[in-house]
Amino acid sequence: MVETWHDATIFLTQQFQPKTDPAARGLAAFAARTSYGATMLTLTWGVLTATGWIRSVTGRKGLRSTHMVLATATIIFGAVHALGFTYLTVQPYSFGYMFIPFGSGQEGRHIAGIVGFEVMFAIFLTAGLQRFTSYRRWLWLHRCAYPAVALIAIHSWFGAIANGHLSVTWLGGITLLVPAVTVSMLRFMPARTLERIGLVEEQVA
């Protein structure tokens, strides 16, 4: 029996290893990374659309269209990422776990991702409903994207750490995170400070 340990291990590994799980996990990881990138770029483009800082390069229409395309990609790839885990054959996550936050046994990083995704989804659904509600109410909801993106970033970074992928993804992750953080910080700076640093033109009349 002792001589066959190695063969037995190989046999067990090959026989009982679900063939579809690596594919589902790989797809979920790919969707997660794509969604993370789209999320950061959506926020960056959103701020640039709102402020008009690069309007002279692209035009407002181009900025707005790109913002919407990126937001759509964020939602689609985010949903694919979540749904991928329901297709696992070993220890799959249920729909309830995936989409209802603060359930029993949920990890903190998962709760952050679920809440972030659902807030983004609410913004996505209401993006075209501006004319049916007051502008201030619509704007209030749209600005919830800032904390939602922060939650998604927390979910992504802790996910990469937990899965041991940080050494692979850190450079791309930071490269995409920094523009979003930078423009968000600039967005919330007082107008006088922005004027002083040359991002806002002087008010004359």
Binding site: A8, T13, F16, H142, G164, L171, V178, I197, V204
Partner: protein, 263 residues
Amino acid sequence: MRSASELAGFGFEPPSVLERTRPLVRILFVVALVLALLAPGSASLAQTTAISDTDAILLTKVRQAGLWEMPSGMMAMEKGSPIVQKVGFAIMMDHGRLDVATRALSQKLNSPVPDQPSDEQRGWLAEEMAASPGPEFDRVFANRLRAAHGAVFNVLAQLRAGTRSDDVRAFATVGNQAVMRHMTMLESTGMVDYTALPAPAVSTTSAPVGEPLGLDTSQIAVVGALFLLLGGGLFYALRQIKSNRGRARASRPATARTGGSHG
């Protein structure tokens, strides 16, 4: 009437090609600088050193854990109560995945791993084989596996905290989570005798900053520098674009441009 040369003297001359492309050249220079500074940082963060003796021990421990726990899980599916069957199956599957990762890493790092469990582990397997199906097997299974997982958990935690190899660090992270999951599942059977487990030995000295992520000070500095360079580069680019537009509008009266009111 003034000549063209006189008008040029008053600053009405259109900007030359060189002047118009200057902002672009500056932006490209900043981008090139960022990339140049990133290269060594990337190397220092993502470097993979040769496998050390302690890293080799980790691969050996995880491999041998799989070599006896997979057959244990198989036995649990045949001899255990329903809950133990479920736990045994999950442990077997997890170790199957972990074993694939272990062999792949051992091949990559050229560090051979054993093909057989240790004598002690074979003894535990014999004990499980001798136990009669039902509560006796459940008790042996839960306690033997829980004690073994506790020992591997210690090794994984130490290696995860201190290894110099990126590959081993990633592997230890995955292994650590798997072992933690298994201990929780084994404890959920309600058959673990905690008094029989070895007493914990904990250092009373505080851990240095950054250790939980396996990052040292220089790596944190690289990440900080990256933030400054990328953020600064973006800010510089935005200012250049804005100032270009400002120059283009210089002839028109300025109005309040605090940006749009939404988003």
